[in-house]
Amino acid sequence: MNQPGEYLSAADMKRLEIEAIAYAAPAHPEVPRVSPHLSEAAVERAMTPKVAEVPRSQTREVIDPKAMVEYVLRVGSLVEQYRQEGVGQMRRESVAELTKPDNVTLAA
C-alpha cells in the first residue's frame, strides 16, 4: 500500500503528462492500467486543497491544465452517454449486486 507521501511521484507526474496529451486526441480517453492502490492513495485527498507533496513549479512544468479540463469534460460526456444508453436497459442483477465490492473493484 502506498503511503500518502509516495503518491504523485515524478514518475506519476510524467504519466499524467502522457495521459493528458493522450486524452486530448482520441475519441475515447486512453486510460492506462495503473495500480488501484496507487490511484486510491493518490485520490484519497483529492477534494481537499491541503495536498501539496509535489512542488507547484514542477506541476506547472509537466501538467497542462487545459488538457486536464478537456479530459474531465470528455469523461463527463462519455459517462453521460453511457448512462443515457443504460437507462431502461434490462438487467438481471439487483442494485445491491451491481454495487458489490467485487463488481466495482478494478481488475488487477
Binding site: 486512453e30 483529492a46 469523461v75 460526456s77 462519455l78 438487467r91 442494485v95
Partner: protein, 147 residues
C-alpha cells in the same frame, strides 16, 4: 417458469424463509430496468469507494457527475455532540478551468495539486463506472464481451 413459481411458493410458505432463498439463481430474478436516477446512485456508490473507507465521523459520502459539466462531492459528518453537518461541493467544468463552488457561496478555480487530484479522481471514476457498471472497456468504450 413452473420452477420459479415453485421456488416462490416455497419461499412464501417455508418454515425457514432463508433456506429456499439460497436456492434462487440469477435466472429466477426478474429483469430490472434502471432509471437515470438509479444509475446516478450506482455511479455515486462506485464514486465514493474511490476514496477508500469512510472515516468514523463521516456517515455518508457521494461523488458523482450530474452531466458532462458538473461533478458533485457530498459528505455528511457526525459531530461529537451527535449533530450532523453536510458539505456539498459542486465542480463546474468551464473553458477557463474547473470552478469549485462551495457553500457560502465561495468560488475558486482548481489549480495545482487540487486540480491534479480532482483529475485523478475523475479518471478513477470513469474507469470504475465504465468497467463496473456499464460493462465497457474504458479505453475503447466498447461493451465488454464478458457482460
Amino acid at each position: 417458469m413452473p420452477g420459479l413459481l415453485k421456488k416462490a411458493y416455497q419461499l412464501v410458505f417455508a418454515e425457514d424463509p432463508v433456506k429456499p432463498l439460497l436456492k434462487l439463481s440469477k435466472k429466477d430474478r426478474p429483469l430490472k430496468t434502471l432509471t437515470e436516477r438509479e444509475l446516478i446512485q450506482l455511479e455515486s456508490q462506485i464514486g465514493q469507494a474511490i476514496f477508500g473507507p469512510l472515516p468514523p465521523h463521516v456517515v455518508r459520502r457521494e461523488f458523482f457527475t450530474i452531466d458532462k459539466d458538473t461533478w458533485i462531492w457530498h459528505e455528511e459528518i457526525k459531530n461529537p455532540d451527535g449533530t450532523k453537518d453536510e458539505l456539498t461541493i459542486r465542480y463546474e467544468v468551464q473553458p477557463k478551468g474547473i470552478l469549485k463552488v462551495q457553500p457560502g457561496p465561495r468560488y475558486t478555480y482548481l489549480e495545482g495539486a487540487e486540480l491534479e487530484n480532482f483529475v485523478m479522481a475523475v479518471k478513477e471514476y470513469y474507469e470504475r463506472v465504465t468497467r463496473g457498471l456499464y460493462k465497457r472497456d474504458p479505453r475503447t468504450g466498447r461493451e465488454s464481451s464478458a457482460s
